[in-house]
Symmetry: none
């Protein structure tokens, strides 16, 4: 194992590969195009993969400063990140919401637990 002299730290979670130094993230061999905030958020989540991270914690780590009441930045960027991750890994759920607690990064196959059918076409 390498210490701080590691020239190229790589975080891996499932098919996801993140190089914080380079600002690079790839999933399933495909490079993700992420903005600064998106990347920061991803790093914060990957750094604690499998654990629930509170929004306040995410905000402090990525934005710096304290999360103000009513600030939805974290939510919005979680959404943006989800979209890009789902696009790269359609069959996998990556960012899980724990209502009242925070978010958790972990790649889990989509459980068909819900409804087997999902027909739409409901013209309202």
């Amino acid at each position: 194992m390498q210490a701080a002299s590691d020239p190229d730290p790589v975080l891996r979670v499932g098919d996801l590969e993140v190089r914080p130094r380079e600002g690079l993230a790839a999933v399933a061999g495909r490079t993700l195009m992420l903005s600064v905030r998106e990347f920061g958020l991803l790093v914060a989540l990957v750094g604690r993969a499998g654990h629930i991270v509170r929004r306040e914690e995410l905000y402090e780590q990525v934005w710096g400063g304290e999360l103000r009441r009513g600030d939805r930045s974290v939510d919005v960027y979680v959404h943006k990140l989800r979209v890009k991750l789902e696009e790269a890994l359609p069959q996998v759920r990556s960012i899980h919401t724990h209502v009242g607690f925070g978010y958790r990064l972990e790649f889990e196959p989509i459980t068909g637990t819900s409804h087997p059918f999902h027909s739409e076409g409901t013209a309202r």
Copy 2:
């Protein structure tokens, strides 16, 4: 690398693993999706695993304040927790009812084979 002063205590009972700080509970390696109340209740029960906890006690610890007569909150949430625990551990009974006393958390394999009949001798 974790120091001895690990600030993230972990409670374990059987296959259940709970991190009170984080709001995370996993059973058999699978993360449970629990609401705030469900998690609080689980923590309260795990904290006294193997012992009977009175509902008044559970209510005070999770909801705060005193349990009012007729309030079924504890029962309802015990049920919700049971459902999720059973879903994760189908062969194990986890939350036991002690009528008139309270509830007890303890993982016990389901008695022998569940008989096709569930009514017993006492023909009322």
